[in-house]
Amino acid sequence: MKSIEIRHLKKYYGAIKAVDDISFSVSEGEFFAFLGVNGAGKSTTISVLCGRQEKTDGQIWIGGKEQSDEMKRILGVVFQDSVLDKSLTVRENLACRAALYGIGGEMFTRRLSELTETLSLGDILKRPVGKLSGGQRRRVDLARALVHSPRILILDEPTTGLDPNTRRQVWSVVHALRKSQHITVFLTTHYMEEAADADHVVILDGGKIKADDTPLNLKNRYAFDAITLYHVGEKALQNLSVPYERAGEGWRIRVENTAQATELIVKNPQLFSDYEVTKGGMDEVFLAVTGKRAEAL
């Protein structure tokens, strides 16, 4: 079953085509990544998906039903920047947000204790959000997004600006949630390694979809594999008739795919005593698909 289905979605601001006729779907329980440079149309798509903005044209189905205000009950959103009230405590923030979904009294107390356990909020419930560290605040943002037990969790660049440790914490919580609650995760990110972990990736550029597949298929189609070879002279490499470049203390040989790597190794066993084979990354996929370097993101 499809969690989200978008068909021919368009969002225009006058002459500007922020989102221009895109179609894709996200399966239930899937970890979906939406990749694109700033201004590619990711946030606009999410805004329309969440009902914050009206679409110009197209259809959106959420949980098998056409998009409506009621559909918002099955969506939980974590924004790029924390949007909770800094002067209010974690508990006050969550109580207010829960009330927006009609959750109060006993029901809220029960849900709060579940979230406290899942996200380790016990020590910070009575503290104002403004006084929390970046990692603690992100956990509270996740708690807010999950307060009404949504089936789809939308993460809008959730780790931008966070240190590596906090990023790891956020992802371990998200992956644990996926495992325990089977929720669908819809991610937009600037980090290629985060997209590489997804089940399904859509690359957006200039409001249009440029690629839509699994990370493995995208890498196979758009990226090259590489063999890094150590303790070998350049002369020996010249005889292989393949492109190569210096890589630290060794040499990186570019190969079309794993089969070509295997063939090369089998044919020249005397050269391959110390080596490693690596698959092409999402950086290369992104560059090949959009013509834009990942660093520019």
Partner: protein, 297 residues
């Protein structure tokens, strides 16, 4: 309904917990009252004595009339300036993204806007009644001449003025998108409103053309009502000290207890109608602009 009141409660909490906004709003009416008494008290006392020149009038009565003028001016100004300060919650939510967080829940933008309006009204009314309480303490200390009916009407006038201030603030704040813009508007309103509504200077002392222009401003009618109900009793009490009725009527006109619109006296019911009507029109404009903004999105 539960969700609406949760939003109202949250908006009020955010205002009262933001010490940088709440404390200045609480203290500024007291500072204004002190400044009124310290710098303008003697000006009004002399002005009252000059009106009844040639007649003996007790100092207690002079103090009572002057205090009525000062307190009524204070409340007339606070009802609008505090409403603009309370309106910052709405602008702040736009800046921080909290508004987006509310709109991804099943709350409609109409419910959200109404919650801002009601919370601004509650906050402004609370602060104004605090200022009115302080004013009443001062009036009791110098000489109380208010009847029960005038007391009740003063409370009603305050509520109506707060409604007008809230509508005006909601309309203006609806267009503001940054904290800097709010500060600029607040500063302008604080500096100009007292003069525009006849709180700092009786309209009778202005040139005819300026007086007529200010009579087109609805806030003037609210200030007139406050003057009438907080000073009227004390001015009427002058009769007991042998002041002729014509002089009492002149005093009421001179201190804006009765307003003149192009040389015709404005009945009290007209003042109420103008203030309530203006509030309703401004509120209507708020709704129209909200709908326009929503359509634009």
């Amino acid at each position: 309904m539960k969700c609406f009141w949760a939003l109202v409660g949250r908006n009020c909490k955010v205002f009262f917990k933001d010490k940088g906004v709440f404390l200045p709003s609480l203290i500024s009416p007291l500072i204004l009252l002190f400044l009124f008494i310290a710098f303008l008290g003697n000006v009004y006392r002399d002005s009252i004595r000059s009106v009844v020149a040639g007649f003996e009038i007790s100092e207690g009565l002079v103090e009572s009339i002057a205090s009525g003028w000062l307190v009524s001016s204070l409340i007339s100004v606070c009802a609008v300036t505090i409403a603009f300060t309370a309106g910052t919650v709405m602008v702040q939510d736009r800046v921080t993204g909290a508004r987006d967080d509310f709109l991804v829940s099943p709350v409609s933008s109409g419910t959200l806007s109404l919650s801002y309006f009601v919370s601004t009204y509650i906050v402004t009314a609370t602060m104004c009644f605090f200022a009115l309480g302080a004013g009443f303490i001062y009036m009791v200390a110098v000489g109380w001449h208010l009847s029960f009916a005038e007391f009740v009407l003063t409370v009603a006038d305050t509520l109506l003025l707060v409604l007008f201030g809230t509508a005006l603030s909601s309309l203006v704040c609806g267009f503001l998108k940054s904290q800097g813009a709010v500060t600029a508007v607040e500063a302008t309103v604080s500096a100009a409103y007292g003069f525009l509504c006849g709180a700092y200077m009786p309209l009778s002392q202005l040139t005819e053309w300026l007086k007529n222009i200010l009579m087109f401003f609805p806030g003037t009618y609210g200030t007139g009502l406050m003057h009438l109900h907080l000073m009227g009793g004390a001015i009427d009490a002058m009769a007991e000290e042998g002041i002729p009725p014509a002089m009492i009527a002149g005093m009421k006109e001179g201190f804006d207890c009765t307003l003149q619109f192009f040389s015709s006296e404005v009945p009290v019911w007209t003042c109420y109608a103008v203030l309530a009507g203006a509030g309703a029109i401004v509120l209507g404009l708020c709704i129209v602009f909200n709908l326009k903004r929503k359509r634009k999105e």
